[in-house]
Amino acid sequence: MQKVSLEINGKKVSREIEDHTLLSTLLRDILSLTGTHIGCDTSQCGACVVHVDGKSVKSCTLFAADIHGSKVTTIEGLANNGKMHPMQEAFKKLHGLQCGFCTPGMVMSAVDLLKNNKKPSDQEIRDWLEGNICRCTGYQNIVAAVKEAASKM
């Protein structure tokens, strides 16, 4: 067993967990933060993307013990005082989702993009979202939503 302490969405969390506990398992099964989705569970689809110390990573491919002491932000941590993050607003406004399964990962990944590239081109958005697979939308509205969010942030 490992004692793991993290700051998740601004709250300090400490748990005794089995050594092989994935971050996605800790979030979903232990802390009931089920906004982070598991699509493939083999590092391909990006539905599980969260931020660890400000960088987007696949939580299904990360041992929680590996990031002891880190700050984690999940989709639940984006809204501020009940007001959606501009990226979430843009996805809603421009229909950047249909079933919504890929959406938490898409949003977390796209938020990370805008940290380093304030005005990404369509191609840069598509390149950045390489690791996020959507089975519904055909990506057009996702790209449009990321552009819209960039113009608002």
């Binding site: 050594d19 092989h20 083999t42 590092s43 990006g46 987007s56 696949k58 491919t61 041992f63 013990a65």
Partner: protein
């Protein structure tokens, strides 16, 4: 996934002491964790090497560029030093997988894993890299042994990869559209006295294409490759590309790489 004991170590000595026939070092985990989930691999001990000081970072001199084993792909891709010394290497790192893979995956893990379609092994062969391990220095020509096989002994830890700065170089890959691994990747590097052409994605492990190298040695231009004959015998053949198509791609990509050399 089968259970294991997780160890986070602070120095190389500790890492080596814990290593056994049933352990694995953990760097980015981008290969190890999926393999463990699929039960292609299981270990009793996982030894996290990312907290070892001095294993991460980039050092440049006029002749060489040394990258610490736990340096992430994203760090190499964004590094001003790498872009200045060997821009093709920053470009290669920027083309690995996706941003989340690049935020975790490391150069040491990529080389130790030696996937037949990985990018960094091609860079090592083309750029005369020396692999610095906990025990010795290994030249790249002696490092990549076969499919997922290297010269590393059990418990031997890669500490850094030292590339020789070329006059000019370029890496071009034809990526698998899903994973971005190379269906074929060709790395061309020109030095004063030699031209190296490394090919990945095509055989069980990365190799140097001597035929194209000798054609380019006398005439360093794309057209010099036109007359070279590449036999597809022994090449990988799968749902992504037949062996003949891969043989064809080697020439196409090598020509693009020569034209793109800077």
């Amino acid at each position: 996934m089968k259970g294991f004991n997780f160890h986070s170590v602070k120095n190389v000595k500790e890492a080596k002491k814990l290593a056994s026939g049933k352990s694995a070092f953990l760097a980015g985990g981008m290969t190890t964790i999926p393999a463990m989930k699929l039960r292609l691999a299981s270990y009793s001990d996982i030894i996290d090497i990312k907290n070892i000081k001095d294993l991460s970072g980039i050092k440049v001199s006029s002749k060489s560029l040394k990258i610490g084993a736990t340096t992430k792909h994203a760090e190499v891709a964004a590094s001003k030093e790498v872009k200045k010394a060997i821009s093709s290497l920053a470009h290669l790192a920027d083309g690995i997988g996706d941003p989340q893979v690049r935020n975790r995956g490391t150069i040491g893990g990529s080389i130790a894993n030696n996937d037949p379609a990985a990018d960094y092994p091609a860079a090592c062969l083309a750029l005369n890299a020396i692999i610095h391990t906990s025990d010795r220095k290994i030249v790249s020509d002696k490092f990549f042994k076969g499919m997922f096989e290297t010269a590393l002994k059990k418990g031997e830890l890669i500490q850094a990869v030292e590339f020789q700065v070329p006059d000019k170089s370029c890496y071009v890959k034809f990526p698998n559209p899903a994973s971005r691994y190379a269906i074929v990747g060709v790395y061309v590097a020109k030095y004063k006295k030699e031209v190296n052409v490394a090919v990945t994605g095509v055989e069980s492990a990365v190799f140097r294409c001597k035929k194209i190298e000798s054609a380019l040695k006398s005439n360093f231009s794309s057209s010099a490759i036109d007359g070279v004959k590449i036999s597809s015998s022994g090449f990988n053949s799968d749902i992504h590309a037949s062996s003949d198509y891969r043989a064809h791609l080697i020439k196409v990509l090598a020509k693009k790489a020569v034209a793109g050399c800077k």
